[in-house]
């Protein structure tokens, strides 16, 4: 019975959900990062670009509540999120987010890989550089020892722990594996449509190069008499 269940699971869309680095990174985001970090401008439906199925996206969206005006008594009403809603923040307001995080605001993930100095590589480096503080190290309150930071401390507690996430494709969830995957996911959120952009770019360049050659021949023929 148990084996049958596992076999069914292997066939389910969950399997497809985590077979690329982006999908694994999304899984880490979903299970770890999204408890503090927002994704204010990415819609649930955008995840279809990572290869998530419509039903998986709908299920993920439906787990979150979004504001939906006022009910008949004038109280704030919520409804389950639709795929077209933005993934948004785990906190209802910025002040609450600060209160929950020692006064710091966890940065939004939408363009982080673009706006963070050093980009994805730097984010991965930070994620991998947590260590236990050496004796005698004095850390400001609410901060954690991290070798990647200039002053060796960071306001974010160590987010990733080995084995924290169970990848459905069987990849072993080491810290560096998860950091790499999250980095790939952030790369996607910061530069959406990149694959399409490159694909159309190649076609456009091929077209323009052929066009240049044609016009080059045409132009040379037209100018031949003048040059003589």
């Amino acid at each position: 019975m148990k084996y049958l269940f596992v076999a069914l699971l292997a066939l389910s869309p969950l399997q497809a959900m985590a077979s690329t680095p982006e999908q694994r990174g999304f899984q880490v985001f979903r299970q770890v990062c999204s408890s503090c970090h927002s994704l204010n401008y990415v819609a649930y439906s955008d995840l279809s670009e990572l290869g998530l199925s419509v039903s998986a996206i709908k299920d993920y969206a439906a787990q979150h509540q979004v504001a939906d005006g006022l009910d008949d008594d004038g109280d704030l009403k919520t409804r389950p999120a639709h795929p077209s809603d933005k993934i948004g923040s785990p906190y209802p307001s910025e002040n609450l987010a600060r209160m929950a995080n020692h006064g710091g605001l966890p940065p939004d993930f939408s363009r982080l890989a673009l706006t963070q100095k050093g980009g994805t590589a730097r984010i991965i480096q930070i994620l991998e550089s947590y260590a236990s503080a050496p004796e005698g190290a004095v850390l400001p309150q609410g901060s954690y020892y991290n070798l990647a930071m200039k002053h060796r401390h960071i306001a974010m507690p160590q987010p990733l722990h080995a084995g924290q996430v169970k990848y459905s494709d069987g990849t072993s969830a080491t810290i560096s594996q998860m950091a790499q995957d999250v980095g790939t996911f952030l790369e996607w959120t910061a530069r959406p449509h990149l694959q399409t952009r490159h694909r159309i770019g190649i076609y456009t360049l091929i077209y323009l190069i052929v066009m240049s050659m044609l016009v080059f021949v045409l132009k040379n023929r037209i100018w031949k008499k003048v040059k003589e």
């Binding site: 204010n40 401008y41 990415v42 819609a43 439906s45 955008d46 077209s84 939408s110 363009r111 673009l114 706006t115 910061a190 530069r191 959406p192 449509h193 952009r197 490159h198 159309i200 770019g201 190649i202 456009t204 360049l205 323009l208 190069i209 066009m211 240049s212 016009v215 080059f216 045409l218 132009k219 037209i222 100018w223 003048v226």
Partner: protein, 398 residues
């Protein structure tokens, strides 16, 4: 059939001679036959402008000019609107391509003396266009309401405030007497559109004046005989076409493979009036003027020198008294002019670095040379110059 269509074209021709004037100005128009590829950059600028106007209209359909929604509407265009990312990249890349084309176009005019009689008005309308493009680009950059938008606008509005006499009134008219908020953003949005579409009108003037005097050429000597000219079509349509294809290749590389190479990532953070970003720098096309602004340790002085650096260009046709147009035949001016171009590029790099140490001194030297060239070298060098070539100005040539 053909008779009827000929009758119709004759009927239209009699009332609106649009076909014959098009033929006169764009098909049969006599062009010097020795133009090099630097003469393509006007066409490049026109095409970039067309792409900007077109993509701008489609962006405007999805953009919301309010402080609360501007940033997220841009994000929606980039992420959710069908092909929105491409339309926006065409617009953003187009600005860089337009400025690049314009700077080369102006430099070509300076080098070959295209500003000299009888082409002063071409030069003046062209510089007017450059200013209009700058205003449009700056207004457009504020619209996404990112950190760079907001703080760039803040800096410029405060600079505008220091302009004697009219500064206070100008900022009040722009912002409706309030801080940088909804009112200002809405006005800047309208300004962006207004100046963008007015540019078409001035381009028409620019081209009309060009078609009175005809094109200058690398020798600076107007063609006298008909065997020195060729009709615009097919000679320059094909030559412009070839250049255009190569220009579009560069444009496509920017749009598809380096969309964030020329822009500042900080503008993907929503405007926050409480936090100024580190290392605030303008987009590359404003960097030279920004460098001048910072090179001077005085608020008003920097502003005067930065605007004056373009202002002095307007006087060039009268500062340069040499009868020789092309720098090709002006051995003393030629290296001085090349150094001027170099100092403009140097200012550009300095503008993108923090104003300290070497960069600050480089920008100070460069701005001094900029004024030295226009106010001293250009007016007085012509007296000492003797042309190595048997070049004489063909005054009154057709």
């Amino acid at each position: 059939m053909t008779d009827k269509s000929q009758d119709l074209s004759r009927w239209v021709e009699k009332r609106l001679p649009i076909v014959s004037s098009f033929r006169r100005e764009y098909v049969d128009f006599a062009m010097p036959k020795n133009l090099n590829y630097l003469w393509n950059f006007g066409a490049f600028a026109t095409v970039s402008l067309g792409m900007l106007l077109l993509s701008g209209i489609f962006l405007a359909l999805n953009y919301t000019p309010t402080v609360s929604d501007a940033f997220s509407s841009i994000e929606t265009i980039d992420r959710q609107v069908a092909s929105g990312w491409l339309v926006r990249s065409i617009h953003m890349g187009g600005v860089s391509m337009l400025f690049a084309a314009l700077y080369v176009h102006v430099a070509r005019g300076l080098y070959y003396g295209s500003y000299k009689a009888p082409r002063e008005l071409i030069w003046l309308t062209g510089l007017g266009l450059l200013l209009m493009v700058m205003i449009t680009a700056f207004a457009g950059y504020i619209l996404p309401w990112g950190q760079m938008s907001y703080w760039g606008a803040t800096v410029v509005v405060n600079a505008l405030n220091t302009v004697p006499l009219i500064g206070k009134a100008l900022t009040s008219w722009l912002m409706g007497g309030e801080g940088l908020g909804n009112v200002a953003l809405h006005r800047i949005y309208v300004l962006h559109f207004l100046t963008a579409f007015s540019i078409i009108g001035v381009v028409a003037l620019h081209i009309a004046t060009l078609h009175v005097a005809g094109s200058n050429n690398p020798t600076g000597i107007d063609p006298e005989y008909s065997d020195e000219t060729v009709p615009f079509h097919p000679y320059y349509t094909s030559k412009d076409g070839l250049g255009l294809c190569l220009f579009l290749i560069v444009y496509a590389v920017v749009v598809f493979f380096a969309p964030d190479f020329l822009t500042l990532a900080e503008n993907y953070v929503q405007a926050n009036p409480l936090v100024t970003p580190q290392d605030i720098t303008p987009e590359w096309y404003f960097a030279p003027f920004y460098a001048i602004l910072r090179a001077v340790p005085s608020k008003l002085g920097g502003l005067i020198l930065a605007t004056g650096s373009i202002g002095v260009l307007f006087a060039v046709p009268w500062l340069d008294k040499s009868p020789v147009r092309s720098a090709r035949y002006r051995p003393l001016l030629r290296p001085a002019l090349l150094l001027l171009f170099f100092s403009f590029v140097a200012l550009g790099f300095a503008g993108m670095h923090p104003p300290a140490g070497g960069w600050l001194w480089l920008s100070r030297v460069a701005v001094c040379y900029w004024y030295l060239y226009f106010l001293v070298l250009l007016p007085f060098q012509s007296r000492r110059e003797t042309s190595p070539s048997p070049t004489v100005q063909h005054e009154g040539s057709e």
